[in-house]
Symmetry: C2
Subunit: 141 residues, 2 copies
DNA sequence: TTGCGTGCAAAGGTTTTGCATGGCA
DNA sequence: TGCCATGCAAAACCTTTGCACGCAA
């Protein structure tokens, strides 16, 4: 993760950022970005994609996640709509969908853990694995 | 992840299982296993380690986790002592240590999410990222 | 013109697979 | 003996790095 100056505007950065913004409610992998660029007939070297994502993460405008089975990282653009720190990221281990749920129970629990167990949870980074309602219905039938 | 018959007892399986049992309160990586075997002067091929771990996971006696920055998976032996489903796995993003904390707040929160948001959290698979007390002290100073 | 950004290829780390051999039952 | 498990090497995947060239300012 080289620390670059990141002082130039380039079309590579623009097109990657635009794709992330369009998909800010999803979690995007490097393969997703490659597939998008291919469909658009835009060539960007894979090293540039990784370096650009690293820069976005350092700037704090993108979050990087490693969740679940796959070893490939996921990235998400962060803005006012989804930077709420009291949002559960519920990830279904069956359909792999992620459900973002705002709920005061998360704040209460975080504060309890902080007060009683001396650990400051970063809710934005924490994923809850389990079964969504659709998949538990399927599993039971 | 080839599905093997796993019907023979071998010393390779024994030694790997013993190491996992000895470290059932930790999270063990393949590198940890390799280092242990090296120290014990026991040679086991790395493919055997991965295949053995896959079998243990299929049998349900070991859990596999991919957590945080490192792309290497962690494994943990599961038995009565640590299969408690109401245990927080708190992972410090600074020192990378994992703190397992039993707490009724987890049960309350899980039940709320189940009742109100229709999602069954698997607490054994869920890791809470954040800062432990030691590292927040360091960060402040 | 300066020096950062890019593309390419090579390399690094983790995990999987094919195949011949070894060893359990 | 029959068949599964192992070891080795190669390969697959994801990601990073070195270097020369291209391009933004």
């Amino acid at each position: 993760m080289m620390n670059r100056k990141n002082s130039y505007n380039t079309k590579q950065k623009d097109v990657i950022k635009n794709f992330l913004v369009e998909n800010k409610n999803n979690y995007v992998t490097v393969n997703d970005i490659l597939a998008y660029l291919l469909k658009q007939n835009i060539h960007v070297g894979i090293a540039t994609i990784y370096r650009t994502l690293d820069n976005f993460v350092l700037q704090g405008i993108v979050r990087r996640y490693v969740t679940g089975e796959s070893s490939a990282a996921s990235y998400q653009f962060v803005d006012k709509d989804n930077q709420n720190d009291y949002c559960f990221h519920l990830k279904c281990t069956c359909c792999n969908k992620i459900f973002d749920v705002e709920c005061c129970a998360l704040m209460e629990m975080s504060e309890h853990i902080k007060a009683k167990h001396n650990f400051s949870i970063d809710n934005s980074m924490t994923f809850y694995y389990g079964l969504c309602s659709g998949c538990s219905a399927k599993t039971l039938s």
